[in-house]
Every structure is written in structure tokens, then in C-alpha cells.
């Protein structure tokens, strides 16, 4: 169930190069699963900006976003104490009940944000995941310490080798021969494709697409799947391996 709510900014700080973490106070009752996202109205911008939930409780949530254009730039300049108009509880999110015993969480760049809450939920359900996250360079890395704090074994890759393994996160996973029986992946599409090609292991993949409404009304974000068209904002952003048409 989606909901239109006012949130107050509690904190908005830089956590890595061009990357910010924003903590919002308000009604989070519609945010029920990791992998769901919210859609934020920003002054002077016609469309809302979709951002995944990195972490949520009933009355506060954390988003992690990268400044790429004028919307995210404006967001990065917003001060604690000011308010935001947000559409929450969007998308299906990850279903942890389908996970195997040894899931791998794999993520790239700012898109990796949902993995934190996902790890928490898995651990709550008695499953300790592994995580492999990739970035361009050391100064962009975030989430590694937080995941480690949860007890999750984390492998960091950077394209330029300035931290962790050098190369793409999928290269690293392949090279070190990480064993896993299920995968939860989120990040840019080329990364998702690489994960998909890495092994036949089942899993859930979270997609990004340009969106207008974010709640299923405009068909802007549709994706062809093996079981017909799906709206990534509604029947996604998470698709099962078995339905992806690659």
C-alpha cells in the first residue's frame, strides 16, 4: 500500500564521494520490505525522484543517494529540520522467505543501498548472508563498515583497485569463487546482467528504470518478462531470476 506523507529531515550528510545518507522522520508504516523505494517531490522538478530505502523502522527511514543531477543535488543541500513530500511504500521489495541458506548480497554503487536492511532482515530470520559490493574507487565506498558491523562477511571491489579487490564486483565474486545458493542483486543493469551470467543460482534482481509516477499508473517503467509485461515500480523493482528475459 502506497502512502503520501510529509517527512522531516533528521540528518543529511555525506558518507562517500558525491554520496549522501539522509534520515527521515515520519510515517513509515507502508515501508514493509527491503528493496522497496520511495518517490520524493523536489521543488522546481516536475517528477519525483525514486530512491530505495536503505533502512527503515516504523517512524524513520534512511536513504542513501548519489548526486548525479539537479534533483539529487538539491536534495543534498536540504537542511535538517526542513520537510519533504514523499510517496512511500512503493514496489514489491525483496522476499527473504525465498532465500537459500547461503545467500549472496551483491550490489554496485549507490544502488547497493537496499542491501543493508535486507541483511538485517535475513539475520533476523536466522540467515547470515555474505555481501560483495563494488564501487569505482575507494572514496565512493559506503555500506562496507555497516554491513561488517552486522557480522556480514563483506568483499569490497573497486574498479581502480584503490580499495579491496581491483575490478568489477562480479569479477571478484567469480575469481575468489564465493559459494552461494541464492543471490540478491541490486545496482546498474550491466552489473545485474553480469551477476545473472555468473552462475545459474536462483535469486532476486532489483532493477532501475526512469519512472514518472512510481505507483503503477503511467506504464512508464514497464519491462517485458517471461510472464508478460511488469511495471518495475509496482510488480518490481525486484524480479525473480526465472522471469527475467535475458
Amino acid at each position: 500500500m502506497s502512502k503520501l506523507c510529509r517527512f522531516d529531515i533528521l540528518e543529511n550528510r555525506q558518507v562517500a564521494k558525491d554520496t549522501y545518507s539522509i534520515v527521515l522522520f515520519g510515517d513509515c508504516s507502508s515501508v514493509t520490505r527491503p528493496g522497496q523505494f520511495v518517490n520524493i517531490a523536489l521543488e522546481g522538478h516536475y517528477l519525483r525522484r525514486p530512491l530505495s530505502v536503505c533502512r527503515a523502522s516504523t517512524e524513520s527511514m534512511t536513504l542513501v543517494y548519489k548526486v548525479v543531477g539537479s534533483g539529487t543535488y538539491q536534495l543534498s543541500q536540504r537542511k535538517p529540520g526542513t520537510g519533504l513530500d514523499i510517496l512511500t511504500g512503493l514496489g514489491n521489495g525483496f522476499d527473504i522467505t525465498e532465500s537459500g541458506e547461503n545467500p549472496l548480497l551483491i550490489g554496485g554503487g549507490a544502488g547497493a543501498a537496499p542491501l543493508f536492511w535486507l541483511a538485517e532482515k535475513l539475520i533476523e530470520a536466522g540467515i547470515m548472508p555474505r555481501a560483495a559490493i563494488g564501487f569505482n574507487s575507494a572514496d565512493e565506498v559506503f555500506l562496507a563498515a555497516e554491513l561488517a558491523q552486522l557480522g556480514v562477511p563483506v568483499t569490497v571491489s573497486t574498479l581502480d583497485g584503490s580499495m579491496g579487490a581491483r575490478g568489477l564486483v562480479t569479477d571478484t565474486v567469480g575469481r575468489i569463487g564465493l559459494k552461494y545458493d541464492y543471490v540478491f542483486a541490486c545496482g546498474p543493469e550491466p552489473m545485474l546482467r553480469a551477476v545473472y551470467g555468473l552462475s545459474e543460482v536462483d535469486g532476486q534482481y532489483s532493477f532501475e528504470e526512469r519512472m514518472a509516477c512510481g505507483f503503477g499508473a503511467c506504464m512508464g517503467c514497464s519491462c517485458e518478462t517471461k510472464y508478460g509485461p511488469k511495471r518495475l515500480c509496482k510488480e518490481g523493482p525486484v524480479l525473480r531470476r526465472g522471469e527475467i528475459k535475458w
Binding site: 517528477l47 514518472a212 509516477c213 503511467c218 514497464s222
Partner: protein, 303 residues
């Protein structure tokens, strides 16, 4: 004083003139998290074609200053599924007037869809902004003769439901098209559909839309829509539904003064899912401020 927001379209009474535009309201269910659709003057369904369509490749939306582009390309499950599944589903929770929006790539397709849905909805809105596949892609909506042909076909295939023709704004003289549709038997007109627009991502140096060019909508286009509604209303005697850039109650009043009997709110719903609710709630208050007793009194009043 009680403010009367009722209007009527070809005998169909609407409790207020505000309805969502086709393509931003799916088949009626997507806004139930936000408000009860029964507050609407009518519900307008997503554009429907003879066969199911996925539409165009993504990205198929893009942002603009005070507006957006879309190149969704009529994604819909096809007329048969709309009739057998979507309409019954809608009737479960919505009891007001329903307007179907029909598109086609040949005159025959239009006629067939209209015939199938005749009698099952309150108004059929025939969207003639599609390219005509038979005549090499020339738009049905940019040539008065083709527009008339589609109108005649739709009217010929229907016996019970009034037919409105939804016009494209991408023409030099929209009155010409409006008159042609009226003469061909249209019971009403809806205007406007989207303008053609484009955006390029300067970082990637490529068009934002996979389809390159898309339909431009949102508050930005309001003055163009208003002008066209004004021009057409002055030369036809059938009712006009005004659409294009409406985002607030004031816009509804302005569009009606230009000649619209009812209005549709499109893209604004996508950025604010409460848009129609907000507008409808504000209307009586605004009527009071402007000293309007019956909304019907202001239709076409601006000279």
C-alpha cells in the same frame, strides 16, 4: 450558498467536471490507496487497442520544465481483456460514468474496438493521435479527412454510446479537424493530446527516450491547450472536454471559461496522486470566491 459543480456531457450527468485523462489512471484501480475514485466526475481508461501491446522500449518517460515526455506507446491488454477483465474489476469499486479511450492503427481497428465496447461504457473517446499504418504513418489526427473517416467508422460501429474524438495539437489549424469530426458525426471532442517534444541527455549525448521523440504534457502546455479549446469551442456546437496542463482548481475554471464542458487532469496525477481529489475539494470554495453559483454558467463565457 450551495455551489453546484454538476455538468452534463451528451446527457450523461457528472457530479463535477473533473476526471483523470486517459493513460494516467490505468484502468481505475491504481489510486485507491489515495482516495475513493467515486468522487470523480468520471473515470477515463487507458488507451485500448484491438490487440494487446507492450508499447515502446524504455526509457519511455523524461522530465521537462513544468512537464514531462512519454513514449509509452499504448501499452494495454487489448480490447477483449479490457472488456472481460478490467471493466468488471473497475465496476466492483467504482459506480460512476466510465469513458473508454480507443486507439487504432487502421480505420478498421478503430471500428472494431468501438463496436465491441459500445453499450458497455458511458462515452467512447476515440484517440486519433496515432500514426496511420495504412497510409504510411500519416497521423489520423493531422488530416481532416482521415479524422472524419475514423469518426464515421466509430459512429458506424456504435449504436448506444456517444463518441468523442480526441484531437492532436500537432496541427496548424485545429478548428479544421474539430469541424471535420463534428460533421462526420462526433458527439463531442476532447482536446488536447500531447504535443511532440524531445529531450537529450547531455551527459550521454543521446535522446533520453528510447523512441527519441515523445508526447509532451503537464502544466507547461496549459496555454496551448486553453487556446485550442477556446478556438474549437467557438466553431463547433458539440461539447468539448478540455485537457492539457491542468493542475489546480483555477485551471479548471479557466478551461471551462474557454469553452470546456468538462476537463481531464493528466500528468499532474503522476506527480501528485491526490491531484484530482485536491482539485475537486477546492472547487466549491473557489466558486464562492469568484461568485459562481453553477459551474455550467461559466462554460464558454470568456469573450
Amino acid at each position: 450558498m450551495v455551489r453546484n459543480t454538476q455538468v452534463s456531457l451528451c446527457g450523461i450527468k457528472l457530479k463535477n467536471p473533473v476526471m483523470p485523462a486517459s493513460g494516467v489512471y490505468g484502468f481505475g484501480g491504481e489510486y485507491r490507496d489515495f482516495y475513493d475514485p467515486n468522487i470523480l466526475g468520471a473515470v477515463v481508461l487507458k488507451g485500448t487497442t484491438a490487440r494487446p501491446r507492450f508499447g515502446n522500449p524504455t526509457p519511455r518517460v523524461a522530465e521537462c520544465t513544468s512537464g514531462m515526455l512519454n513514449s509509452v506507446g499504448l501499452q494495454n491488454p487489448g480490447i477483449d481483456a479490457v472488456i472481460s477483465q478490467e471493466l468488471p474489476r473497475l465496476r466492483e469499486f467504482y459506480h460512476g460514468p466510465v469513458i473508454a479511450n480507443i486507439s487504432g492503427f487502421s480505420v478498421e481497428e478503430y471500428a472494431s474496438c468501438c463496436g465491441k465496447i459500445d453499450g458497455l461504457v458511458d462515452i467512447i473517446e476515440v484517440n486519433i493521435s496515432c500514426p496511420n499504418v495504412e497510409r504510411g504513418g500519416m497521423g489520423f489526427g493531422t488530416d481532416p479527412e482521415l479524422a472524419a473517416e475514423v469518426t464515421r467508422a466509430a459512429k458506424g460501429a456504435t449504436a448506444k454510446t456517444p463518441v468523442f474524438v480526441k484531437l492532436s495539437p500537432n496541427v496548424a489549424d485545429i478548428t479544421e479537424i474539430g469541424i471535420a469530426c463534428q460533421e462526420a458525426g462526433a458527439d463531442g471532442l476532447t482536446l488536447i493530446n500531447t504535443l511532440l517534444g524531445m529531450r537529450i541527455d547531455i551527459r550521454t549525448k543521446t535522446p533520453v527516450l528510447a523512441n527519441k521523440i515523445g508526447g509532451f504534457s503537464g502544466s507547461a502546455i496549459f496555454p496551448v491547450a486553453l487556446r485550442m479549446v477556446y478556438e474549437v469551442s467557438r466553431v463547433v456546437h458539440i461539447p468539448v472536454i478540455g485537457v492539457g496542463g491542468i493542475s489546480k482548481a483555477e485551471d479548471v475554471i479557466e478551461m471551462m471559461m474557454a469553452g470546456a464542458t468538462a476537463v481531464q487532469v493528466g500528468s499532474e496525477n503522476l506527480r501528485d496522486p491526490m491531484a484530482c481529489y485536491r482539485i475537486i475539494e477546492k472547487l466549491p470554495n473557489l466558486m464562492e470566491k469568484l461568485n459562481i453559483e453553477n459551474l455550467v454558467d461559466i462554460i464558454n463565457i470568456a469573450e
